[in-house]
Assembly symmetry: C2
Homo-oligomer: 281 residues x 2
């Protein structure tokens, strides 16, 4: 039996989740558990098939993946840390072909969307949506599909023996995806000197009710890194607010949190963690 | 030549965009122009093939469709109004079959996601992602595909002669999508007494810079209906903030806007319009 750390990822080996896992953990110490959906990813963690999981939480193009916040809350998982991954997309195919030979291209809908400008220039290529970037590359490789291209990571081309016909075909070159490393709540240990938190709270729909909450953060020099309101269904005009906040001194956050509890309701902490570098993005 | 108003929609006839168009305009006065992507939808409006368009902008499950805000800005389109549409999803197939006969189900990835709990109970059904809910229904109908199901609107079942095998299969029954009715900027006329605005502005990443902007809204009793920060790529720690705000007196908003300009940068108004009813959602 492998003594490697089992890390659940969404998609096949060499998916962007895999790349993110290799960035967060030591690549040689992990073994990925492939999960075909975020729900299955959570099941893998809950059932202890995986020790930790990587979970995409937002990207430049689509913003937050709100459904994943819901999953984290429903399963009671905690955020261990974060990874920012620049997303470079490449058109790849079985070796010995040119772009002109490609009649079909398959990938995840979001990757296809990010390459819309590139694909616009090749109207002869028919676009096929697939569940995953790496899965598309694997499929072409396993079934030896000529005239088929996949849009996926460089790692996927290496892993599945495909040739990159055109690299960096994404429209927005500063495109990135942010991932959380997550764990079961009983495995959660507060890191030393955390400097970032992801939380949500609820507020009344009256002028200034959000400002009251934000004023507390301002008072303790807690910096908002992200804010997003989400309507609460069945309770018109009431909102759930998702916030990422950062600080220099953890003690400031601890004080802010006490006051914050008084001016908000249903406060929920997804986790306190060390913020990640963004490497120029 | 038809004298009907040409309305661009995303997807095939009977898609949820079509349902939204029928809610915003008089159904008998419009003729829909089917567009297979949001980019093509915008091209249809820019080229005057469509007079107006419907564009999904957010839904309960996935939150805002940020890419559509980018398209609105890039094309210089304006928001005429909004529609909130409760999304009821139904499993439909060629008449005379039961759920047990269905081996494949196709729909838009978001609709499939919203029915994940239902599909979880039928592990024998293989899920196929498609570009559009209505297109899936049309495809089954035109190709007479037995053993295939589509997940789509009631209108799609009626339009394409399919039988609903199970109705309301969405996990979240309070699920809705919000659509904008949009127009070319030269066709934009400020409605009488608008009471809602969609705008974005930029702020510095320093504690309290957002609060300063929100304080202006609070001062003039302008109510935040939505807020979302979006990182500005290539400018680490700077954010673009999207806001929807509502008011009772338009004059209050006019005054607030003047002050708001002084405490924010790169302010952009997507449109001032009349807020829509949400009918209990």
């Amino acid at each position: 039996m492998s003594s490697k750390l089992k890390i659940g990822i969404q998609g096949a080996a060499a998916s962007f989740h895999d790349v993110a896992a290799r960035k967060f953990f030591s690549p040689e110490e992990i073994e990925v558990v492939e999960c075909s959906s975020f729900k299955i990813l959570c099941e893998s963690l809950a059932s202890r098939e995986s020790k930790f999981c990587m979970m995409a939480i937002e990207n430049t193009i689509a913003g937050s993946i709100l459904t994943n916040y819901s999953l984290l809350e429903r399963y009671g998982f905690k955020i261990l840390g974060e990874v920012y991954l620049p997303i470079s997309l490449n058109l790849m195919a079985l070796p010995g072909q040119t772009v002109g030979d490609i009649q079909f291209v398959q990938s995840h809908p979001m990757a296809l969307f990010q390459c819309e400008d590139f694909l616009f220039n090749f109207p002869h290529i028919k676009v096929l949506e697939a569940a995953d970037t790496a899965e598309s590359a694997k499929n072409i490789s396993e079934k030896k599909l000529r005239a088929f291209g996949a849009i996926a990571s460089e790692l996927a081309a290496q892993t599945y023996g495909l040739e990159i016909l055109q690299s960096r075909i994404e429209t927005n070159k500063l495109n990135y995806t942010r991932f959380f490393a997550i764990c079961r709540s009983e495995d959660y240990v507060l890191p030393k000197n955390p400097d970032k938190v992801s939380l949500r709270f609820e507020t009344e729909h009256e002028p200034g009710s959000l400002t009251k909450a934000l004023d507390v953060l301002k008072k303790y020099k807690i910096n908002l890194a992200k804010i997003q309101s989400i309507p609460i269904l069945g309770r018109p005009y009431q909102y759930s607010i998702h916030i990422d906040a950062e600080w220099i001194q953890y003690a400031d956050f601890e004080k802010a949190l006490e006051e914050f509890k008084k001016v908000t309701s249903n406060l929920f902490l997804f986790g306190e963690y060390k913020r990640a570098e963004r490497e120029g993005i």
